[in-house]
Amino acid sequence: MAWVPLDLWYDFLMAWQDDEVTDPEIAGIPTDYPQLAVSETGLDWGDVSQIRDKLKLTPTERLKAAQDFMNAVLRIRAQNAR
């Protein structure tokens, strides 16, 4: 397998534009790396939308979601350790 330096790989992704693709049904949805505007805190649009989704939940729902997620991770870890 060819080894690709991470910075070159990232530059490649950032330079890769799909602006010529015009699909009216997905207008307004970021579909290219330059469109994922970085927030003031250094996160991209995907991260920020994830936070906005969490803020729609109650504290109980947030705790349950985190607990369920970690338990799924632990089950997968245990299966892989067998």
């Binding site: 927030s39 003031e40 805190t41 250094g42 996160l43 991260d47 920020v48 994830q50 936070i51 906005r52 969490k54 803020l55 939940l57 109650t58 504290p59 109980t60 947030r62 705790l63 349950k64 985190a66 607990q67 997620f69 970690m70 338990n71 991770v73 632990l74 245990a78």
Partner: protein, 165 residues
Amino acid sequence: MPAELRFDEVLRVLVRNEVEFIVVGGIAAILQGSPLTTEDVDVVYLTSEENILHLAKALGELEAFYLDPAGRHIEPDATRLASARIHLLKTRCGRVDVLRTVGKGLAFQDLVGKSRVLEVDELQVRVLDLATIIETKEHADRPKDRYQLLFLRQVLAEIQRLEAE
């Protein structure tokens, strides 16, 4: 390793035993909207004699024992909870870190005014506010804290944006 993590059960046992505590760290951040994950519950406890007895009873119910590099099975008791500053424990519900202070030596009394009570699973749970969690992470300044700060600052900014609307 327990069969499954039960963050909710840890909080329930502490509340049922009338322990005076403040949830800090990852779970406190999650309860306030952080998308990051954690495997343990971190709490700061009031170091009064009565509260330490309540805490020791709660930790007994949780079948807690110290995370010991030598692998010994040592349980936290009232004497240990009254003396040592940090208790990293394994319980039947997962890891629980029981702390006397966080950040710049901030104890329960220092943190209570920087906390808020949230309803979690029909329990009233005192949780360190996000701005103070951020301060403790800035103080710790480990690489993992710097990574988490990216998210915590954004969560705080989003909450402030929602409150302003």
